[in-house]
Point group: C2
Chain length 635, copies 2
């Protein structure tokens, strides 16, 4: 086999490796350690290097933009050597900055009038404590406690044993000048000493907390200076549990198999969070132990797996969680690598399939605060939907299946580079035009692309109301394939992988079931409270996916209710935004508790009307066309 010389700019000498060697392996032989947090799966983008010259083949460029690739960037774990190569290894920090622009920018404003003195529970106090004398032999903790009470007007501070063990040393290190970090939640929670540091810290120095959203697919961490409310850094990556199952059900099964399964799942999500924390603190040039408070959102399964709680009952009838309202925990017991005594506030959920991601989302979307009746939804595997206003809230979760996440569909994929995100079909020629994420040749269809495609197939008459492909139209794109009738979206010659890219009859049925389940959820919710769906004043869509939905198309297939486009608002990751708001303001946090406690959960599997509503919604756009006047008028 041919051998090639690989020169790394940061290595002492070049190495010689055979054709097909991964750059990560070549680097290892050259004595370099290129971090691969995702285990070399090409997922995290942390191993990006710049190929200055020579031949490498990129197996995957996920996490790289076209501009990155044009500049010579490659993922070392996905690039194989095919000739002599000169490689430049960016310092870890630089690699991160470069790639982190890929991540969704933080699009949140500090809440208007945020006042840490009144809103925030985390505080830093500079204390000068009178040292003990023979005349005043008050013990260390009592002496500190007196000072804490005097400065805050509070009493009954809690302290942990590990903190007590270090108290005396810290108090004396800088001559009884200390900085105390306290978490003073509203009663009945007692105020708590979180940390004690020697000396006085600068008044204006940031005080760090973090908001976390544990998504089934993506974990997001925001580091927040709770003094100003500013997000100082954010980081996101795939939830490492993804390798043990794409959706919550398969993860519960994995975790329930044996004791180690649950332990492993817990470890994986902790690794995800802790890695993100490391990335974020590195960027801010602070230490992870400078983070004293964490507020965590996530669906009920994610929360259970994070905390090592048995999740099996979530999956099995009658679908109950171990706990929806968790007590306050500390970082050490959870396993978060921030300050070991940092308060960890896991936000409360409502039910097995309406978790803290939804309660946080309802807060972030302001549903519980509005006079108008809103429909809030988080489209994904489980279409979690909330209907209500400041006066009442009802919620349900419909098992839509993973079709909108690109799974269970022949050429489905996630919304990453190479995914078709939009489709237009010429109603005369039935020829499609597609838009691909990151340009380049298409590899498959992501959720927004599938919605678009189905809508176009419908409005051009390629499929009928029941979702059947029409074989007699003058186009060779409708054909009978191995799995029945199908429509060719991209011919093999134009596709990245050289194969025809199709949507099959079975795919269409899956999409109909997914959209039908979600729409049926709306119907059942509205019926349950006797509120006409048509009277809903706004539709608030959470979740990263929501941002890419084409409203017109979603209405055309009957996924979203038929309302003027101005009624729709796409809010991005409402879960992490809700966690952020709860991190900042104890009243926001109390609102989430109130939402979780007062939202009425409707279990669709126990609701007879759901099945009827589901069947009615399996048509395009719906059996009852009066529900979709805009679509009906078009067609």
């Amino acid at each position: 086999m041919a051998k090639h010389c690989v020169t790394f700019d940061t290595a002492v000498t070049p190495v010689t490796v055979p054709t097909g060697t991964l750059l990560t392996e070549a680097a290892r032989r050259a004595g370099l350690n290129i971090a691969q947090p995702c285990g070399g799966q090409g997922r995290c983008g942390r191993c990006a290097v710049r190929v200055q010259g020579g031949a490498v083949r990129r197996r995957s460029t996920m996490r790289l933009s076209a501009a990155d690739v044009a500049e010579g960037y490659a993922l070392a774990c996905q690039a194989v050597v095919e000739g002599d190569v000169a490689v430049s290894v960016p310092p870890p920090e630089a690699a991160e900055r470069h790639l982190s622009t890929d991540l969704t920018a933080v699009d949140v404003a500090v809440p208007l009038g945020y006042d840490p003195d009144h809103d925030q529970t985390l505080h830093r106090l500079c204390l000068t404590i009178p040292p003990p004398t023979l005349q005043d032999q008050t013990d260390d903790w009592c002496r500190l406690h007196n000072e804490l009470c005097q400065q805050t007007g509070l009493s009954g501070f809690q302290i942990s044993l590990p903190l007590l063990q270090h108290l005396g040393g810290v108090l004396r290190q800088e001559g009884w000048q200390v900085t105390a970090v306290i978490d003073a939640r509203p009663p009945p929670e007692p105020p708590r000493l979180v940390a004690l540091l020697p000396g006085h810290m600068a008044e204006g120095a940031p005080l760090w907390g973090m908001a976390v959203d544990i998504g089934t697919t993506t974990v997001t961490v925001w580091l927040v200076d709770v003094h100003t409310g500013q997000v100082g850094a954010q980081a996101a990556e795939y939830n490492r549990q993804v390798t043990r199952g794409e959706d919550v059900i398969s993860r519960i099964i994995y975790a329930s198999k044996n004791h180690d399964g649950a332990r492993e799942m817990r470890q994986l999500v902790l690794e995800s969070i802790n890695t993100l924390v490391q990335r974020a603190v590195h960027r801010l040039n602070i230490d992870a132990t400078d983070i004293f408070k964490a507020t965590i959102a996530g669906n009920s399964t994610m929360m259970h797996l994070l905390l090592g709680l048995p999740a099996a009952t979530i999956r099995l009838q009658p679908f109950v969680t171990a706990v929806n309202h968790l007590p306050l925990l500390c970082a050490q017991e959870v396993g978060l690598h921030i300050h070991p005594e940092a308060t960890v506030d896991c936000l409360p959920g409502v039910a097995s399939y309406v978790g803290a991601d939804i309660t946080a989302g309802v807060l972030a979307a302001g549903v519980d605060d509005g006079e108008r009746v809103s429909l809030f939804l988080d489209v994904g595997t489980n279409g979690e939907t909330v209907l209500g206003s400041r006066d009442w809230l009802v919620t349900c979760a419909c098992s839509a299946g993973p079709a909108f996440e690109g799974a269970g569909v022949h050429d489905g994929m996630r919304a990453t580079r190479g995914a078709i995100e939009e489709v237009w079909i010429n109603s005369q020629t039935f020829e499609p035009t597609v838009r691909v994420i990151g340009s380049g040749k298409p590899q498959g269809l992501c959720g927004s692309g599938l919605i678009c495609l189905l809508a176009e197939l419908f409005v051009t008459g390629l499929v009928d109301k029941a979702g059947h492909l029409q074989p007699d139209l003058p186009t060779d794109r409708v054909r009978h394939g191995a799995q029945g009738w199908e429509y060719v979206v991209v011919w093999g010659r134009e596709a990245a992988h050289g194969r025809d890219l199709v949507i099959t009859h079975a795919d269409i049925n899956n999409l109909l079931r997914a959209k039908g389940a979600i729409y049926a959820g709306f119907t059942v919710l509205a019926d349950s409270v006797g509120f006409p769906l048509a009277a809903v004043e706004q539709v608030l869509v959470g979740g990263a996916f929501g941002q890419y939905i084409n409203v017109e198309k979603a209405i055309q297939i009957g996924l979203l209710p038929d309302m003027p486009w101005g009624c729709f608002r796409f809010l991005g990751n409402t879960a992490v935004k809700g966690a952020y708001l709860a991190l900042l303001d104890h009243r926001a946090r109390a609102r989430i508790s109130h939402i979780a406690a007062h939202m009425t959960y409707i279990e669709l599997s126990a609701d007879n009307s759901f099945y009827d509503a589901f069947i009615a919604a399996l048509f395009l756009p719906h059996t009852d066309l009066s529900r979709f006047p805009s679509v009906w008028q078009q067609s």
Copy 2:
């Protein structure tokens, strides 16, 4: 060297060993493991075996009664082979029972009118919980919590993460029938779920708590059925820290040397407690995890070393503790091998040298509850003294030194077998008569023997008021020895070790300083509140040592104030009794907090009057004879 055959009844074959081999070593060679919790120092008595025939020499028979020795018992770690021997090894349990009769019997009555429903915080509840359905998907913890609230009328139960992790499994194991153990302390402490067990336990079954006293010398554990208040088992042994220093000061020095020193001290005392717990639960045929609550007394140094708190500041001016009032902890974080979630209540102390042993003692002695003014004292290395009544309490600790514990005295020893505990001297012949603990030949003098001896020396005129031995009396027992003037208590021919047993001039000075410090403490306390010492109505003496003090003799040397003997009460281990009362009754527990918070501590090293009082008390019985009318009238 001669070889001998040793046959153990529990070993497969005999072993042959040379003369002088320890029985423990012979047993090891025979494949037997004889437990030596004290490390083979002959201290614990756990390795007792019965020599059925043959020649062994007992180096030490400490922990064995004369009857034991007569029956052939020997401590395997102290017995050397001197001929062919047949040895019977009692099963560990039998050995323990046999020897545990040595320990002070539990001399405590269940408090009159003890009513666990009202007094006790620990409760066991049998719950039948409605299982979840599709119509009621309340989560596991909320479901259990509702039932707890309904049965108790309380709310806001706390639960730990480990308990949450096992909740679902336990609830379903016996079809939603569970037994909950809760600890419901008065507010502001929230009620807490301590344990959840599958199925319903029998109503009348005992519910175990434990009271612990960590003495500098001895650790005592009482297992208590909190339903009845009965002490089910008790066990005591040397505090294993003894090998790292006899008194608190040397232990603090050891613990402060390096990080490992503190860790080691913590480990040693935990081993002591956990071993005692094992012995006690074995006797009751229960499991250590059946103990759900622990209340711990002990001096401040012991408490600090138990919890890994730095103790160095206790020893150094201005003598402050890290903490006097400890938060409630759980067994797991403390390191106690009982139920991991069991509440551990470390009783509060007052100051560095007035710890929880004294606050518990004050409670047990009822000082804080009496209309009459009492003097409470715990004679030991530190003469901790409390003066007061229900209206006021003052306390001090005088560094008396270890003379009364037999240390720092030429022929001093602990109050174990072979120690002279009483002495009478003929005032004509100056010849002494002695009583020895456990009969047999005397080996030394313990504290009570020293008090007796000093009193007799004084009343017979062998020493004068200043404590000087009188060399001109017609007796050869007063002589000039290597260390100055001395009095021979036992001639070598009558002593166990064959050497003359003496009390030296230096010994007498040590004893005078010890008794002078303690008496000066009384004086300062009384003066501090302007209460005449003579007006004290009763003297309550705590501590095991107190039980053996001869009041007449103690008054004669000026150790105890001159009062009618009927005013003295000897209460034994008041620390463990106080812990027991606090374990049973939350009002007793609150009283200890009140005692700790309200008792005025007088730091003698900062009190100018102490030195004068000390100098005045260095005489026999005192410079001011009017304080000791009964002694004055005698002499």
